[in-house]
């Protein structure tokens, strides 16, 4: 084909409508001229099938395929628009199914499936080694980092890291930065390179090494305006660090660190600074080629046991217990990815399961609607067949229609997914935030599109095959036909509805349990008042010594106390509901054995608090008294315990005045307070409160109760700090309600999603029921008319129509309930304070579904009252 020909063909294609008309006219003229010779009938006969000649002529134009496709598409579009409501429903259902699947899949992919953006991540493992402190020995159940780092046959590189906070000195406002404290091999273990400059050198990892820092890309741009790093320094907690490198924008591990400084081995008090009371370290390593996790684990355990120094019987027992625990959890070494995703996998999998269910329901719904449509169009298809359309052509047209709908559904679905992704960010494990951005990647996109095309084909094909196989003339003759095909199709639709109902039950039960859990969480008695209390945290630089720090805290509290709106203000080390991890402690009480304590399963932690703390948070005093003014400022032997502690150690008598040993001191109980919830996921915790007098604070929390409910409290608190020391950084300044809300937030997000899914499922099922009943009515019009003529009343007919549907729904609900009962255990970890076989949920859900199904059945069934028997008789 040369250029001229192509040009001519294109011209023809563009003008094809006009060309077609001209061709028609030309042939008509020809026929007229012929008629003048041989008469009209002969001419007509001689000419032949005008339509097919025209088709053949147009074939010469060579755009047959495109032409037909354009025709099909146009026809499909007109058809779809004509049946607007059904089409909209089908598209919406598909959009929801595809959108939800895409979004969920993207989230799970980012959190769990996508390879970590580290070099060869499958070789990365975590092990419980500790970098020890200078001049202090490790306990019998701790493994030395140095020892592990020397095992070059097992691990090519070993590194430890921790996340802490340091203050960046800044002209107008001190900022607290997230600091990654890392040993020198950290970056190479992960295979990360600096974008500018260099990373840490081995000498910098030794105690007394140079103060160097590596900046994150974000910090470098924000605070340093991307300037050259030559000679650049950064001042953290009043210490000056030389900036030696900047990381690329994609790297912010761990936990969105702003800057990295070296962790010396062993730890010095200088490298201790970013942390509060203890260094929460994680040790990671890269396995040597060919070494499996299991092998390394066994080897490591054996070697550690060999070199361990057991000084006495107590050490031996502790060691034995530790070994037992290690065997229990499956070894010393864990693949790194598992560690990172640990807390979030359950909710993600649950939501993934829920999405799968929703998708199934959506598919069932779409199939149902298309089947119902096909049943109604049988006659139209038969007529077309008689007019000469080949079966292939009809199939192609029906297919085009389904594909058109699927594409609209897919497009809309992608929009839905984009929207849902915003909400899903809440699910990313915090350590992966910034690393794995939840976004729609091309794999998921193609999966969705493929899904929509396949569903379009499959659901378009089934009814199409059914329709065209039938004898065309029979369809035109007969009314609705009670042939076997109609029955089979009807049964299939009923089965689909039952399936939808069952799946909806599953989703509704899941959502119900989550909602109840959330309710329990929100209404739980926390032991503290969360209204009208402002909180904030202060962090100190190492050059501020203990007395200095204490002075600042006391002065801030005094200033707050002086304000008329502030009812009470106090100091503590940590805040209930805001604590991340805690040190577990133990006390010794004469007469109480360790066995008894351990078997109770109750853990203990310690807190430091001033008298104002209890008053500000309105922690109830059960017995005795709170700390007094002198205990607030000077060291003393007083201690306050909570009710759990009292019942655990002194079950039969009052603990007031009793003494106990803790960390080498003898303390005396002066008061008992009500239990306070520090963590939603904790069980009962025994707490011991020390007075603030004589306490060394790394960081501290200040709380203040205001008699006015407003956010101004937080502002006032920050003002007070600024008045005492303008350079003192303050962070996490927020109302206690926000603290509580933040701790509930992830649960709330999961629950919200599940609830949305459940509502959508319910709507879809109802739509399915409605559609089936509607079409059933249309199909059985004749039959109903006859019955009506024979004397059936409107209600009789309604009953007839509804009976089948109610029966189907019941089966669906029963199957769904059974399934939900069995599967409820999946939610055990997420259910809070609620039994997974919660009675209220298992009663309300079937009730709701029945109500919805009944409604969806009765609304269309009411149209039965409009069946006019004489119309039906006449129509035949």
């Amino acid at each position: 084909m040369n250029a001229g020909e192509l040009f001519r063909r294109l011209k023809l294609f563009v003008r094809r409508d006009r060309m077609t008309r001209e061709l028609e006219e030309e042939m008509r003229i020809h026929q007229e001229l012929r008629a003048e010779r041989v008469g009209p009938e002969a001419a007509h006969r001689r000419f032949g099938n005008t339509t097919s000649i025209q088709q053949q002529s147009r074939d010469a134009w060579g755009f047959r395929f495109l032409n037909d496709f354009a025709d099909d598409a146009g026809f499909a579009a007109r058809r779809v628009l004509k049946q607007r409501s059904v089409s909209i429903v089908i598209v919406a259902v598909m959009a929801v199914g595809i959108g939800a699947t895409t979004a969920m899949f993207s989230a799970v992919d980012a959190a769990l499936l996508r390879p970590l953006p580290f070099d060869r991540p499958e070789q990365l493992v975590m092990l419980p080694a500790q970098v020890g402190r200078e001049k202090s020995k490790l306990y019998a159940d701790q493994i030395s980092f140095t020892e592990v780092a020397a095992m070059r046959d097992l691990f090519t590189q070993v590194a430890a890291y921790g996340v802490g906070g340091l203050n960046l000195a800044s002209a107008d406002h001190p900022i607290r930065l997230k600091v990654g404290t890392v040993t020198t091999e950290f970056f190479s273990v992960l295979g990360a390179q600096a974008a500018r400059g260099r990373l840490f050198a081995p000498e910098e990892g030794k105690p007394g090494g140079a103060n160097v820092a590596v900046l994150s890309d974000g910090l470098w741009k924000r605070e340093f305006g991307s300037r050259s790093i030559a000679g650049l320094t950064i001042t953290l907690n009043s210490r000056v660090f030389d900036v030696v490198g900047v990381m690329p924008p994609s790297f912010s591990f761990p936990e969105q660190s702003d800057v990295w400084i070296p962790m010396t081995v062993p730890l010095t008090s200088a490298s201790f600074e970013p942390f509060r009371d203890y260094v929460a370290q994680t040790t990671i390593a890269r396995l040597s080629g060919g070494v499996s996790t299991a092998a390394a684990s066994t080897q490591l355990l054996a070697r550690v046991q060999r070199t361990k120094v057991l000084r006495n019987a107590k050490d031996s027992t502790r060691n034995a217990q530790w070994v037992a625990r290690v065997q229990e959890i499956g070894g010393l070494i864990t693949p790194f990815r598992k560690v990172l995703a640990r807390d979030r996998t359950t909710p993600l999998y649950v939501l993934l399961g829920a999405t799968g269910l929703l998708l199934l329901i959506a598919c069932a719904n779409v199939t149902n609607l298309l089947l119902a449509q096909a049943a109604v169009r049988r006659r139209e298809i038969a007529v077309r067949q008689v007019l000469g359309a080949t079966r292939f052509r009809i199939l192609r047209q029906l297919l085009t229609e389904s594909i058109l709908l699927s594409w609209c559904g897919a497009l809309l679905g992608i929009l839905v997914a984009l929207g849902a992704l915003q909400g899903l960010q809440a699910f990313m494990p915090p350590q992966l935030l910034g690393l794995s951005v939840v976004r729609i990647d091309w794999r998921v996109l193609s999966f969705s599109i493929a899904l929509s095309v396949v569903s379009g084909i499959v659901f378009g094909l089934y009814p199409a095959f059914g329709s065209t196989r039938r004898d065309a003339s029979e369809s035109i003759k007969g009314g609705d036909g009670h042939g076997t095909t109609a029955e089979r199709s009807g049964r299939l639709r009923q089965t689909l509805v039952a399936a939808e109902v069952a799946l909806s039950v599953l989703l509704l039960v899941g959502a119900g349990i989550m909602l109840r859990s959330l309710e329990k969480m929100v209404t739980r008695d926390l032991g503290v008042s969360t209204t009208d209390v402002g909180t904030m945290e202060l962090a100190f630089a190492s050059k501020q010594k203990g007395p200095e720090r204490f002075r600042i805290l006391r002065e801030v509290v005094e200033r707050l106390d002086a304000m008329p709106e502030i009812q009470a203000a106090g100091i503590s080390k940590t805040l209930p509901l805001a604590t991340a991890g805690e040190m577990l402690v133990g006390i010794e009480v004469p007469g109480v054995t360790e066995e008894r304590i351990r078997s109770s399963g109750i853990i203990m932690n310690e807190e430091f608090a001033s008298s104002g703390f209890f008053q500000a948070l309105q922690i109830r005093l059960v017995e005795g008294r709170l700390f007094n003014a002198s205990e607030d400022v000077a060291p003393s032997k007083s201690a306050i315990i909570n009710s759990t502690t009292a019942k655990l150690y002194w079950p039969d008598t009052s603990p007031l005045g009793r003494t106990f040993f803790m960390s080498g001191d003898t303390l005396i109980v002066i008061g008992v307070v009500a239990d306070v919830v520090n963590h939603f996921d904790e069980g009962r915790v025994a707490q011991v409160f020390h007075p603030t007098g004589g306490t060394a604070f790394f960081t501290a929390t200040i709380v203040a109760r205001s008699n006015r409910s407003s956010n101004a409290t937080v502002g006032q608190m920050m003002e007070a700090v600024r008045a005492v020391d303008p350079a003192q950084p303050v962070f996490n300044a927020r109302m206690m309600e926000d603290v509580r809300d933040d701790s509930i937030a992830p649960r709330r997000a999961s629950t919200r999603f599940l609830t949305i899914f459940a509502i959508i499922a319910l709507s879809l099922s109802s739509v399915g029921v409605y559609a089936v009943v509607s079409y059933g009515l249309a199909q059985r019009y004749r039959e109903l008319g006859i019955r009506s003529a024979l004397g059936a009343t409107g209600s009789n007919l309604m009953l007839l129509l509804s009976r089948e549907m109610v029966w189907t729904a019941s089966i669906g609900v029963a199957v769904g309930l059974a399934g939900a009962w069995a599967a409820a255990r999946v939610l055990e970890r997420l259910a809070y304070g609620v039994d997974v076989h919660d009675t209220m949920t298992f009663v309300l859900v079937p009730a709701t579904l029945f109500a919805a199904t009944l409604l969806a059945t009765l609304v269309p069934a009411r149209r039965v009252f409009r069946v006019n028997p004489s119309d039906v008789m006449r129509a035949d």
Binding site: E5, R8, R9, E25, E26, R58
Partner: protein
């Protein structure tokens, strides 16, 4: 009288030839001309004529434009283009070669 089918592949050639001999013809005239000149041996089926004409149009061998007949009727007139003339020569040549080959096989003599 029974007519012979126009041998396949030769209709295009015959149409071009008719247009070669006459400046402009419309569809009906082309059909009539072929029938007349072939002494009614061939009858042109409309079913094949129009697809053929469209083919020739696309290939650029003929051009068409609407005009008026003697009786003042609208009709579409076809004209042979230079490219069409060349194509005619080509097709005639290959037709001659083919028919002399056939003639040799059948030991006939082709009247020129």
């Amino acid at each position: 009288m029974s007519h012979l089918e126009i041998p396949s592949g030769t209709l295009d050639m015959l149409v071009l030839q008719m247009l070669n001999r006459n400046k402009q013809l419309h569809g009906f005239e082309i059909a009539e001309a072929i029938e007349r000149v072939s002494a009614d041996v061939f009858r042109v089926e409309e079913g094949s004529l129009y697809p053929a004409l469209q083919r020739l149009l696309i290939k650029g061998y003929v051009s068409a434009e609407w005009g008026r007949t003697a009786e003042n009727r609208r009709a579409r007139y076809y004209t042979l283009l230079p490219a069409g003339k060349k194509q005619l020569a080509r097709e005639v040549k290959s037709y001659e070669q083919a028919s002399s080959a056939i003639a040799r096989i059948l030991q006939l003599r082709l009247a020129t």
